[in-house]
Chain length 334, copies 2
DNA sequence: CTGTTAGCGCATTCAT
DNA sequence: ATGAATGCGCTAACAG
């Protein structure tokens, strides 16, 4: 591949001159500039970005680490991130954290391949993040609370959101309300569980161990959780699912069993993913301010890059989106 | 940030020794290895991946260029790509091509920041691709047909798919079948349009200019296309939408107007995106073998990297997925 | 087994 | 206005 050296020699100048010419420095005569540019075109010269990055010790790109590149995607969040990164003239790359320590995400985190990182991937261990975050590698974490230098937390009020959701269920008259959990390691999951229990307690309803079903934040996880209920004939009045994906799995399982969500059983999810409004019945859920999270996250990165280190923790509120999976239609009329 | 030089001097050895030690070469004594590793830990040393990439002239990552990082996502395709990249021990990064020549995608394509590229982004110009593709930068394009050295085409049979879809509509008795188009620049769109016309012609149905509505592959595009039909009182028997996203917009618009898709009007899309099965009514559409496209794409990249250059064009077939948006239920009974 | 050194491709300081 | 030389951080060929 043609390097700047080739260009220089073809143009009959020194590399430095070629560099100046190509980068539009004013210290080079119009005539030689032309010669250099011509040579570059002739050789189909492309500057090597890696070399430049090394020189500047700066990549001009920020990394978005996702737990799985193949979704489910938080498109609003990404949109938010994207907006502010392009505004700042930076590039954005998305990488997956599948594979733990050996994952692309871990590698990029480690090897200074980006200038900052936004993490939305519960499958990256804290230790990896901690050993990567430094002055020239600010990281914001969206899915956990992690106190350390150069790591910024953006947290949504998971507990409050769950509390809202379950209280709503309670207000509708549901009593036996199950919880489908996310991965035990997920702090989001734990917070939501606390909110769930708190709402129950406040109404003097005792939480029974067999009200808890383990999921893993995936659709199939929810599906099998619901299947289990059915097979055990352990049926609830309503279910609070720790996220929407699992809730959709629940709908599928119940549908197969002829149980009508929204009529025979109430269901509320968490996240308000895109699909939530399209499934049948449309899913009542608690919405996180995704777009805002994204822009905030990116902004914090740039603040950090510019040396003004922001407060390390930002809280965001949630909102209950009422659709039809809790049977409000029927219950409202009665 | 600590460099290998710092590590070496702290350990009291030469940089090369440090390098050997850190990279597990056998040419270094166990004792010094330990000293070096200790020093590295003490300094929280992290190798600079950029420098290594420069040295090796190889990044060990392949790039996936998407027209918009914030979706709609072809998760099955990405899964396919992901599978084979990790199998080969490579990293995968996704970048957006929003912004044309200035986009991250264009930059990565140009500056040898990846070892190979898979393009699924109709908003990247051919010229950019052509000037980037070279021996050490194989590219496979998924969304266009583009003949050139080092660019591999993976094409689905758009025309045939569209033909199938429209023939199906015709077989159901629909006659006045509209077409909602994608961007004019999209070759996918053009191929689908041809298939549509071909099916019409075969049945001796004349295509009228006002059967064509312009969209842009987005949901809102479809929405406004349908809105236009309604406002102009130019209502079809059925609609063939050039992709699913637009079809969903159509459903929304008709729903607002009290027109029942699947009963008053037939609708078929193209792509079989995830949402298609969840919208109401579930969307009849033509499925592309996404997973297969993804694995194939990545495999071709690696073949190319390994010097065996594959045939530059691969064709894949489509499949009509019949759901409920063409009213088969009603029509079947009659 | 360990150190010296060159060089990956680029930008840039200092001479000229 | 142009060129020679240096260094970014790393690896590896070569010398000891």
């Amino acid at each position: 591949m043609a390097t700047i050296k080739d260009v220089a020699s073809l143009a009959g100048v020194a590399v430095s001159t070629a560099s100046y010419a190509l980068n539009g420095s004013s210290k080079v005569s119009e005539e030689t500039r032309k010669r250099v540019v011509d040579a570059a075109r002739k050789l189909n010269y492309r500057p090597n970005g890696i070399a430049r990055d090394l020189k500047f010790n700066r990549t001009n790109t920020i990394g978005l680490m996702l737990s799985d590149l193949s979704g489910p995607f938080y498109s609003e969040l990404i949109k938010g991130v994207q907006d502010v990164t392009v505004t700042h003239g930076y590039d954005l790359i998305a990488v997956s954290s599948i594979g733990g320590r050996g994952s692309t995400a871990a590698k990029f985190l480690r090897e200074k391949r980006v200038d900052g990182v936004i993490i939305l991937a519960h499958n990256i261990e804290n230790s990896i993040i901690l050993s990567a975050a430094r002055k020239d590698m600010p990281v914001v974490v969206l899915d956990r609370s992690l106190a350390a230098d150069h790591v910024i937390n953006i947290l949504v009020d998971n507990e409050g959101g769950a509390y809202k959701a379950v209280s709503y269920l309670l207000s509708l008259g549901y009593k036996k309300i199950f919880y489908i959990a996310g991965p035990r390691a997920s702090s989001d999951n734990m917070k939501r569980f606390h909110g769930y229990k708190k709402a129950l307690e406040e109404q003097g309803i005792e939480f029974l161990p067999n009200w808890l079903y383990q999921g893993d934040f995936t659709r199939t996880g929810g599906y099998y959780a619901a299947k289990s209920m059915i097979m055990q004939s352990n049926l609830p009045d309503a279910i609070f699912s720790a996220n929407d994906e699992m809730a959709i799995g629940v709908i599928d399982a119940f549908k197969e069993a002829g149980i009508r969500v929204g009529e025979d059983v109430g269901l509320v999810g968490f996240d308000d993913i895109q699909l939530a409004e399209y499934v049948s019945p449309p899913l009542t859920t608690v919405r996180q301010p995704m777009r805002e999270m994204g822009t905030l996250a990116a902004q914090q990165i740039f603040h950090s890059i510019n040396g003004i280190f922001p407060k390390e923790c930002i809280f965001l509120d949630t909102q209950l989106i009422i659709r039809e999976s809790c049977g409000w239609r029927k219950r409202k009329l009665s």
